[in-house]
Amino acid sequence: MSSKRDSKAAHIRHIMETEGEAVGTNTRGFNAGRYESVAKLEDYEALKEEARAIKADAIERLPELVEELTETVAENGGTVYVADDAADANQYIAEVCAENEADRLVKSKSMTSEEIEVNERLERDGVDVVETDLGEWVLQVADEAPSHIVAPAIHKSRAAIADLFNEQFDPETELETAEELTSFARERLGELIQDADVGMTGANFVTADSGTMALVTSEGNARKTVAVPETQVAVAGVEKIVPSVEDLQPFVELIGRSGTGQDITSYVSLLTPPVDSPTVDFDDPDTPIAEGDTDREFHLVLIDNGRMAMREDEDLRETLYCIRCSACSNTCANFQSVGGHAFGGETYSGGIATGWEAGVHGLDSAAAFNDLCTGCSRCVEACPVGIDIPWINTVVRDRINTEDDPPVSFLVDGLTPDAETSGPGLQKRLFGNFELLAKLGSTFAPLSNWVANAGPVSRALEAAAGVAHERDLPEFQRTTFREWFEAREAVPPVDPDRKVVLYPDLYTNYMQVDRGKAAVRALEALDVEVLVPSVPGAGRAPLSQGMIDTARDKAERVAATLGPYVDAGYDVVVVEPSDLAMFRGDYERLLPPESFEPLAENSYEILEYVYGLLANGADADALNVTDGETVAYHSHCQQRTMGLEEYSTAVLDSCGYDVTTSDVECCGMAGSFGYKEQYYELAMDVGSNLEDQLRDADCDHVIASGTSCTDQIGDLLGEEPTHVIELVAPDGGNA
């Protein structure tokens, strides 16, 4: 187990050293471009909803659309072949090549063709297969796999490509600049396209009504691949079908913006093959092209390869909505550090790859990288079709857990009273059962803190459960937040404006007790009645480890405890953003609507609630106001996805603070992720961007909202930041 973690850590370290810089620069550039480009749309959210609705409808009606498309393409003079799997598809394509006596097939970029590994199959038959997308060609020359689904050679720097070309092709003048490299590749590939026999493309979308396929490109190689040879083969997953041509519009507007941050790519080819354009026969240079052959051959190979089964799988189904734009890769903090060679399976990479790999290649391929999704949820708002990518990762993690052998240690069973019927493995169960650890830790604090962080125990925890020894474990408080609350002698506000249940999340209750106290002081200062009842953990910890049964069990108990308060008119206020994200989002998957909805509708993040009180007439002077002290604020990833960051900054602003916010997508800790031995270095690499921003801001205060962010920033800066509420609560944040 431990050696497996060691080799994983070594692999990630190697990728970060060799490819991290190029991947980081490119993906962060794409991600920044996405924010800029989608902001120019008049109604981005409506466009995304339209796109999602089209996909939902198309996948629902897929068998019927396959039939319609097959008839349409036949009417157009082409052929549709629905291939059950990769071997079936490859056999068909090999036969097309054989019938055409093809010596060379030129290809434009297609991830689906990578999925079926058609190049290898055709090369066995002696067909010269040439990738014409410049990035794909670089990889073909280098014999490497794509590290990104849209920009496949993203891991290679210009200098590395120059070295590769100079070594492989020995050009007369050594190549150096991007212009020289592009021009060299264009010349060389241009010649290879001229006498190609077959052109193969993918398809971003195919319309059932007219048989039109959309190809979203920038280079012009796909256009040449279609225009020159007489025979065109298009390879597309069955999920690429949409009902009509007009359905393409929202996707054309969204795909470039979401992926590489381009409003639109240079070319959107809308091809209804076999196309009317005459072939260009360079072997017959003097016959006008207008007299060229227009009797073209077209084969659309629709790939099932597990997709129809994914369609029947309630949890994997939404994967089929994916338009392969790469937004979930570019927005992912972990992906930005490692790219697709670590955060990817046999074919696909990035957040949604877990769904694709589980569906088309199987759980083993997904298992190799699935842990790299921390559930931070930043990809959800970036996804143009709104796929709940973290949920797909959670479900697949649960399925992988089920395949693993259950642990046998009685110690582990004692520490892990979960509802899992199978074995997630010791590391996952330790972190998944954080609630019990927290209770024990608090009961025996401060002794438990000294022991846990002492050399021998820290090393033993690393060896047994993979807890990184570099990390200080969370410091448990002897007096919990609830115990403090019950014991205090406070007079509740007379005739309160509102009544609140302050949810004692595990982190606030057992470790970050001061932020709980500050929340109580702030709320009471604003004339709110506060109760802190005993409520179970929200289930975030087990959910993050793919222990869905355990998480559901927690969710049911939380809803049963808080439900009566909500019915009695109490608002639920939450300090820990990841727990609020459970109440508002994940619980929809875990609870019946009658339990989920009232809780989701009546739950608030603490600063969101304070903002609401101030907006409704409460006086900010009751809080800790200042005159221009500066604050560097890192909002929590899930808090940002819920759109709640601005409430914290607005309240800080109302209290007179001058706020600078970080713009990194995630701190890198992401719950237990950064505590895991095999991911510690990656987590710190991700965190280094945040560290730079916080240091550059050079402010009077550094504050954060999430427990993980607080721990991570503490490790990065050597000083633990406080929660926003501790800064704005009266009495300066001290109890």
Binding site: V138, T182, K224, S269, L270, T272, V275, P278, T294
Partner: protein, 184 residues
């Protein structure tokens, strides 16, 4: 961004009430942001404008409109050898999309696709009356056409480009420069 009303289609094409200055300005501004040069010309002056825009040798496909023609310096029945030797390709554009600065190039049996693709400079000739405000209008137009005639078209925005070689380069496999002659 999309404040202009979608045009309604009639039998002749899109109705335009005279010159829509805002629409043209938006198209021009978006297209220029991709490095596209624009020249306005009356129908009678189009041939001269094209002759000024091209870098010889030039090839082209006949323009589908009665009142405008290509200048004599453009070879309108090119061979593959001409395609290889030319610097400029001239074709008509069926439509343009104002808020993206895109032109829509329909594939013709005369070979508009290779002519607009293989050379360093592509000169597209666009009637100003074929300008539509947005992508929705463009797909409304193309949807009808695709279902009726099963044609193909390219929505082209600026020159071909790649970032695969470590920096953005224009002129990847397709043209490195695009000019639009707007017939007004």
């Amino acid at each position: 961004m999309r404040t202009i009303q979608t045009q309604t289609k009639d039998d002749e094409g899109f109705t335009m009430s005279g010159k829509d200055v805002a629409l043209y300005d938006q198209f021009a501004s978006e297209a220029r942001s991709y490095g596209v040069e624009l020249t306005e010309a009356s129908p009678g002056a189009v041939a001269d404008a094209i002759a000024d825009a091209i870098e010889p040798p030039a090839i082209g496909t006949p323009l589908p409109w009665d009142d405008v023609e290509l200048p004599d310096c453009v070879e309108t029945n090119p061979t593959p050898a001409d395609v290889e030797g030319a610097v400029t390709g001239v074709t008509g554009a069926s439509l343009a999309i104002a808020d993206y600065g895109s032109v829509v190039l329909e594939m013709t049996a005369a070979g508009s696709e290779p002519v607009s693709l293989f050379n360093d400079l592509h000169v597209a000739v666009l009637r100003e009356s074929d300008l539509v405000p947005d992508m929705a209008a463009a797909f409304e137009w193309f949807g009808e056409r695709a279902r009726e005639s099963r044609g193909s078209a390219i929505v082209a925005t600026g020159p071909s480009a790649t970032a695969d070689m470590g920096a953005l380069v224009q002129g990847a496999h397709g043209p490195e420069a695009v000019e639009v002659i707007v017939v007004s």
